[in-house]
Amino acid sequence: MTTIDITEQGLRYLNETLQQQSTGTNQKEWDIINPRGSHAIAVGLDAPIQVTVNGSTGYYCGGMNKQASITIKGSAGPGVAENMSSGMVVVEGDASQYAGATGRGGTLVIRGNAASRCGISMKGIDIIVAGNIGHMSAFMAQKGNLVVLGDAGEALGDSLYEARLFVRGSVKSLGADCIEKDMTEAHIKQLAELLERADMDADPAQFRRYGSARQLYHFDVDNVSAY
């Protein structure tokens, strides 16, 4: 375990040190103290390391993550795990707006609530939120899964492409071209796997699934396997 104190050693030192870790690094565990809402903590990582951030973070924590597993023991500011490719980011508190935006892969787990625009333009990331999500979530979401154990705000999935949205609670309103769809056995199985990955105890049968009506964009059934 290596500890980095952002107040003492600085954000630049933190990110340079973490970004220098290679896939075969022996330094697997990193403990970050005094985040104090700083921006861009643990961004651009590309190694299978475990990073624990002890406190709340500002903009873009865990942005562009690959491989690393980052846990925020607090709340996250706007754009947490933005454009993540792989690995896992866990927020133990709440996440501010556009959590997981444009994410291409990996898993984002939010144990509290997520604010507006959660999963906006997501491109393959899986996002699991224990609480509620705000308005305009999954706007233009292209691929991946957004799982919400609580309620969703206004205009869920507006202008949606092929991302799958699973919501257990109420949905205030659906956005343009977003409709409720059947939950098949395959979906329940997939949802069970997502909930297990996020270490969340919920019955997949209680969720409703929402997806694109495919009226707004040019959907070609020949490309269905791409999603």
Partner: protein
């Protein structure tokens, strides 16, 4: 961008530290807007007395002339009138009954002097420059009071001038700071001016302040005025608004502009970012949350 901070004290024991806490919060937000900065402080009030904060670009010549003019023109004993100069600002404390007289005297005879605020409790200090410099120039760390609001500006809708800096005060003991930009401020300014409302600048945020003051002068509470604002003000906004007894927060329904709040038994605090709140007492035990879009929040003493 722009950065907003606000602090509403529930525990009177913290009153002597209001200026220090609020100044530190504002300086933390410097990189959200380095153009200009300002703070409104709600300090102690004395029954029957009024406070007028004025500003001048040439204070050394303007303020002594104004002080003499006020002494000559009002019937108040000299010891009841105080005129405290702080850099480009001065705070005049006078009898409530002389308030309108003094305001008219300033407006009619001292064109270089601008009224920043008036009321029983409010004082506003704002200037072009970094929050750190503004705090130093006006010794804001020494300010005491029950609540206060600060703003650091990245100008969009009007020029970088002292008058374009926040907070804006358009009513007695009222002020507003704004992060965002209004899209219907020109039409709203014309409408309000037609109703007889005095608006000094071409700034969009002043229109929001004037709008709320106008609604409140018609009898609405701050909470009701903010609710009306959701229908009438178009654009992006996070507002923090102060009155003599209270402190309100409103975000537009799209809520692009960031906002974080924290509450303990001792205070309610607002920050554009969590960074602004990290040095507050017992912040680790505070309830910290992001205010909901289009929801009016209000605390009052």
């Amino acid at each position: 961008m722009c950065g907003i901070v606000g602090l509403f004290l529930k525990d009177d024991a913290l009153k002597p530290q209001l200026g220090e806490m609020l100044s530190a919060m504002l300086i933390t937000m410097t990189d959200r807007g380095p153009d200009s900065a300002g703070i409104a402080i709600y300090g102690d009030e004395t029954a029957g007395q009024t406070k007028i904060t004025v500003q001048s670009g040439t204070p050394d010549s303007d303020f002594p002339a104004l002080e003499k003019h006020i002494q000559d023109q009002t019937h108040l004993a000299k010891d009841k009138l105080s005129f405290t100069m702080r850099d480009t600002h001065a705070v005049i404390v006078a009898a409530e009954t002389d308030k309108d007289h003094i305001l008219t005297l300033i407006i009619n005879n001292h064109p270089n002097i601008r009224v920043m605020s008036q009321g029983q409790s409010i004082e506003i200090y704002k200037e072009v420059g970094l929050p750190k410099n503004v705090v130093e120039r006006f010794a804001l760390t020494q300010a005491t009071g029950s609540h206060g609001i600060g703003h650091t500006r990245m100008a969009t809708e009007s020029a970088v001038t002292t008058l374009g800096a926040h907070p804006f005060s358009t009513g007695s003991d009222q002020c507003l700071v704004h992060n965002g930009s209004l899209s219907n401020h020109n039409m709203m300014r014309r409408k309000l001016r037609a109703e007889g409302v005095n608006i000094q600048t071409e700034n969009d945020s002043e229109v929001a302040a004037a709008y709320l003051s106008a609604r409140m002068s018609e009898g609405e509470t701050l909470g009701e005025a903010l609710t009306s604002g959701l229908n009438d003000l178009d654009g992006f906004f996070t507002f923090v608004v102060g009155t003599k007894t209270g402190f309100g927060v409103l975000r537009d329904p799209i809520a692009c502009k960031p906002a974080v709040m924290a509450e303990t038994d001792a205070y309610v605090a607002f920050g554009s970012e969590y960074r602004a709140l990290v040095n507050l007492p017992d912040i680790d035990q505070a309830r910290v949350w992001e205010p909901e879009p289009a929801e009016v929040y209000f605390w009052s003493h």
